[in-house]
């Protein structure tokens, strides 16, 4: 069964290869000027050159670091606030309307406020990532907490469990699938906001690399940056899927 599931990777690789071939065809047929759309070969050459010169590794690591710390920060706040709201109807009535007011705000629109508080620094970028990425985790945690099987609450009452024990032994494990799904969405938002923050706050990373490459008309370097961002997004997503499978291995598969 596992072998059959593994075979499904072949069509997905084939689709990716087809996209690259389509890209190459578009460039060779001059459908878009090569000044703006470099060929896959030039993009690959730019990647190799960037890594050989040592520039791209450092920028990649800086972006990865900001994305990860921002995501962790967002996860902690999102899950904590979501747990508070999900476990108490009183707190929900106090907090939820204000949170609904803040949620639709685009994170990039609050960057000027973040600059006022944190300056043009990594702190500003992390604060922006935290603000933008916590919402998927928060909403997923609230949903997870409110979807716990009522009989489990009855069981906890019957066993005389304390409230904290109920949260950590029943509610959190039950809400974990939703929380992990929210964390995966939050990871995508973290990556986007990391790049935006780096562009706006002049922080060294792939965001600034892409911005300056675009300004200097170095389209192969620009696309090399985009390829690295795509690889970062894909690998972080796959890691989270693996983590999710391991953490939820206790769930019976029907």
């Amino acid at each position: 069964m596992k072998a059959v599931r593994s075979l499904w990777i072949v069509p997905s690789i084939a689709v990716a290869v087809a996209f690259v071939l389509l890209w190459k065809y578009a460039v060779d047929a001059r459908m878009v000027s090569p000044v703006f759309l470099p060929s896959p070969e030039r993009t690959w050459a730019a990647l190799q050159h960037g890594f050989a010169a040592g520039a791209l590794q450092l920028k990649f690591l800086h972006t990865l670091e900001r994305m990860f710390y921002g995501w962790i920060c967002a996860s902690i706040f999102g899950i904590a606030i979501g747990a508070l709201i999900g476990s108490s109807s009183t707190i929900r009535s106090y907090l939820q309307p204000s949170l609904e007011l803040l949620r639709p705000l685009p994170a990039s629109a609050v960057i000027p406020i973040a600059i006022a508080f944190f300056g043009l620094s990594d702190g500003m970028v992390l604060a922006t990532i935290c603000f933008g990425a916590l919402w998927p985790m928060l909403l997923a945690t609230i949903h997870g907490f409110s979807s716990v099987e009522p009989r489990l609450y009855e069981l906890s009452e019957a066993l005389g469990m304390k409230r904290t024990a109920v949260v950590f032994k029943i509610v959190l494990p039950s809400a974990l699938p939703d929380i992990l799904a929210g964390m995966r969405l939050g990871m995508t938002v973290s990556l986007i906001l990391t790049v935006v923050g780096e562009m706006l706050a002049s922080r060294d990373g792939l965001g600034q690399w892409i911005l300056l490459a675009g300004r200097s008309f170095r389209s192969p370097d620009l696309f090399a940056g985009l390829v690295l961002l795509a690889a970062l997004g894909l690998s972080s997503s796959l890691l989270l899927i693996g983590l999710e499978r391991w953490l939820l291995r206790w769930r019976t598969v029907h």
Binding site: I115, A116, G119, S202, R215, S216, F217
Partner: protein, 317 residues
């Protein structure tokens, strides 16, 4: 209804549709010029307002754009014919396969006095020299922009490694607030923000990074794609002649110049009244272009073998 009536009605409908949707043909001497709205393009504005293009049979459409990247993109995509550009932009464009040539100059050094640009240090920062900027945060309008390149040149001239100074991108209107809040230690700024920040005590000038540029070095010019110039030499020459005539007119009629500046840049009257008339020049010397190529290369912004001759447009008369 007879078949003839049907055909007649169809023909009328088709003709109406054709007339309604037909875009007017672009006449051979129509020029689309993209420009960043600023006083350096004064000759262009005056040439338009004083009908110097009209009398040469040119119909010029001037479109202001936000930045240099948009100028180059417009030229490459043929949305515009001539664009207003600074030397580092066309040098980097050439290094990456975009062939732009200079139709004529716009302005050159020396810049008019008193200074309208400089590096301001935050009041209370104790910064007195280029050396004091090491490890500090300096705001600049755009990384790898004209002003950033010139600021780095000034640091190198003063024996400071530009890599040891942290440059951050800050919009000119925000620079004052960020400096006041201590978020940046210094700022590379231009008027009207430069003098306003000094007057309000937010910062003080300690570095005129444009003072040591040799006379005659071009600041900006009008450029066009090489391929376009090859097919429109006569139009390019007429444009150049009109700009040269406008420069002569400005020197003799400052009032006309300020009126055009107010009209095209939408600056307040008080600002226009005190604005410095730039050092306008339609000619460009290859030697001065070499100065720019060497500077841009020394800062690691180009990798290829760009030469000053690559940008020279010579009409085949």
């Amino acid at each position: 209804m007879t078949i003839q009536t049907v055909f007649a009605r169809c023909a009328l409908a088709a003709a109406t549709l054709l007339i309604a949707t037909a875009t007017p043909a672009r006449s051979a001497d129509t020029l689309k010029v993209v420009v960043i709205s600023q006083s350096d393009a004064l000759a262009l504005y005056v040439a338009a307002d004083q009908h110097m293009f009209d009398k040469r049979g040119l119909s010029v459409e001037i479109t202001p754009v936000a930045n240099q990247s948009v100028v180059v993109s417009s030229l490459v995509s043929e949305a515009a014919d001539i664009g207003f550009a600074v030397p580092p932009v066309i040098i980097q464009a050439k290094d990456n396969g975009i062939d732009l040539q200079i139709v004529c100059g716009a302005t050159e050094f020396p810049l008019p006095k008193p200074a309208y640009a400089g590096i301001l240090a935050r009041t209370g920062s104790e910064i007195r020299s280029a050396n004091d900027l090491i490890g500090k945060k300096v705001g600049v309008i755009g990384l790898n922009s004209f002003h950033h390149i010139m600021a780095r040149r000034w640091l190198a001239e003063n024996h400071v490694d530009p890599g040891k100074v942290e440059f951050v991108e800050v919009g000119l209107p925000q620079m004052q607030d960020l400096m006041k809040a201590g978020q940046i230690d210094a700022g590379v700024t231009v008027d009207p923000f430069y003098n306003r920040m000094i007057d309000q005590g937010v910062g003080y000038s300690f570095g005129d990074y444009l003072q040591t540029v040799p006379n005659g070095i071009p600041v900006d010019f009008y450029v066009a794609p090489k391929s376009w110039l090859a097919n429109h030499q006569e139009i390019a020459v007429k444009f150049r002649d009109a700009i040269a005539e406008a420069i002569g007119h400005i020197k003799a009629n400052e009032a006309d110049a300020r009126a055009s500046l107010a009209k095209w840049t939408k600056l307040p009257a008080a600002v226009v009244a005190s604005a410095r008339i730039p050092n306008l020049s339609a000619g460009v010397d290859e030697g001065t272009l070499n100065w720019w190529v060497d500077l841009v290369k020394s800062q690691g912004l180009i990798s290829g073998t760009v030469k000053a001759q690559d940008f020279t447009f010579r009409a085949q008369r």
